[in-house]
Symmetry: C2
Subunit: 377 residues, 2 copies
Amino acid sequence: MTTDRIRDFLNTRRPDGPCLVVDLDIVRDNYSAFSRALPDSAIFYAVKANPAPEILRMLASLGSNFDAASVVEIELALEAGATPDRISYGNTIKKERDIARAHDLGVSMFAVDSCEEVEKVARAAPGARVFCRVLTDGEGAEWPLSRKFGCVPDMASKVLGYANDLGLEAYGVSFHVGSQQTNLEAWDRALADARRVFDALLKQGIQLQMVNMGGGFPTRYLKDVPTAQAYGQAIFEALSRNFGNRIPKTIIEPGRGMVGNAGVIKAEVVLVSRKADNDNLRWVYLDIGKFGGLAETMDEAIRYQIRTPRDSDAVEPCVLAGPTCDSADVMYEKVPYPLPVSLTIGDEVLIEGTGAYTSTYSSVAFNGFEPLRSYVI
Amino acid sequence: MTTDRIRDFLNTRRPDGPCLVVDLDIVRDNYSAFSRALPDSAIFYAVKANPAPEILRMLASLGSNFDAASVVEIELALEAGATPDRISYGNTIKKERDIARAHDLGVSMFAVDSCEEVEKVARAAPGARVFCRVLTDGEGAEWPLSRKFGCVPDMASKVLGYANDLGLEAYGVSFHVGSQQTNLEAWDRALADARRVFDALLKQGIQLQMVNMGGGFPTRYLKDVPTAQAYGQAIFEALSRNFGNRIPKTIIEPGRGMVGNAGVIKAEVVLVSRKADNDNLRWVYLDIGKFGGLAETMDEAIRYQIRTPRDSDAVEPCVLAGPTCDSADVMYEKVPYPLPVSLTIGDEVLIEGTGAYTSTYSSVAFNGFEPLRSYVI
């Protein structure tokens, strides 16, 4: 997963300190794979996964649409060349003045999951399209979603009916099956819920148009995952099963699936030590940790693949920690990580599959460490 | 805990978006309280808690020393007016080239917890003072420390002996009883360990000079905690009990205890909603969350006191969440937080006791949200 281009860049530029390098060729390949796998779905790239201008510009030129979590992300997508009709304001939690700013910028599609949010959109973006997010259980996802977003299907019907009453266009339903979702049936269950909402709205005389199937498309970490093609097939079958020959417009919002495997973080071993002479577990400290961009190691949820210059040597498990004075800055401890016994202070390691949710998660200045630098090549 | 000065500042300036306001008067009071409580200990402010230049300048002028976690923090302390002899490089995980930079800047006291780190210091900062961190159990702490820092006392003796062999000054022992430590006996147990290391070194003909008692001094969150005075008394008694009439030099490193209660975060209610019509739990979404500076709500470890404009109204528990599209961005869910039933979209809330470990934890740009702004008044 560390491409030759990334390896060449690191060997030539030799940047000091930890950094993320993203290979645009891989992003382009991922975009093509999604397009081929789901040819009838519009791709809305989840900008939050990695908002690097080079990535946004390339995706805009390929015809991608954009899912933005904030006004800043809307502005980034516009700067990258997207027209406002290709941007969805996909956060269900928005200040009314931010909705107004998005409306001023020409954005006309908004996510909601409550009547309270519908009222804000009706006031600040009159006539806009809204889609309502439905709660899913996220079973099978590595980074499970809580109940933070969405509402139960019955309430979604009410929310969309209310939107229609307030002069908005009740446009569709969205769901998110959970990040890194490897259970293909999760889409089927969510689509069945979506169909229930379509039926309920039809009884109110409202024809919904769109199903936003969100993200959750996994990137390759340590485990093999079904390819985009297999996902596309399963999703198409689930759509047919639930909507028959009246399949609505569909949207997908890949974020991690678009950029996760395109990025590699170069880091350095700062210390290898033990806590006692008879300690059978090494501690390996890197110059990047939970607060430098690897926030998704929280609860050891995501286990990144780590390459070292000594991968042909024997391995032993170790605790892997970051460089800050914060005791919570430990990546893998409950399940120690196998690394070469010969690993030494000063060794450079490559943390693969880190193109998504790393550079922006990084702390602004925790312990005086600068935010993760990022290169897009 | 929201002082009149902070309230006046917010009412007058009316900053848009979430922000931290720190009242320097409270920091000054805290410094005085520590000085009075532990008159024989040198205060090394833990810069990582809040490195705002105004705070560092005031503490420098009051005579404080500084505990730095990185070269950047050393530079900040120097810029604030501290001389290098008043700065300790207190991180046990340092790149050799960072030790060399600190040495070039005149810093001559370094933390270690392994022979590997001693070797780096011996090469990059010949002749420097080192103190070795000893593992403590952290029992009673709200934000417990793991085994990340320190080694067992027997190994500490070896590490310090090795430092002496390599021409360094084996200077002392450090420990950290855990952040927000409310069990006064924790210091007694750690001091007993320190004494063991002193004795072991004396057998090698080395007289250690110093005990660095770290931080862990709690700030007032929801619970009342013993005052600095009570801490000082308990610590003095524990020193006498363990070292008799040969009490070594001592250092304390308050961070949270120096600035925690001096800061208040102003935030705004973005949405109040439910997930179903029959949902008996409200969700309250603020414009700040785990990735905007409230990282210490991880695992719901720290429960901040939250003031609202409707605190005289009846309260009901709610889930409290942040504004990002990340499902992990939820502050209090396992133990819902009681807030007024009448709380409404647009209300401003004050999150108290947030002067430490907030502004620097903040993500650099997650979901397009800007880092937490900070005002020191």
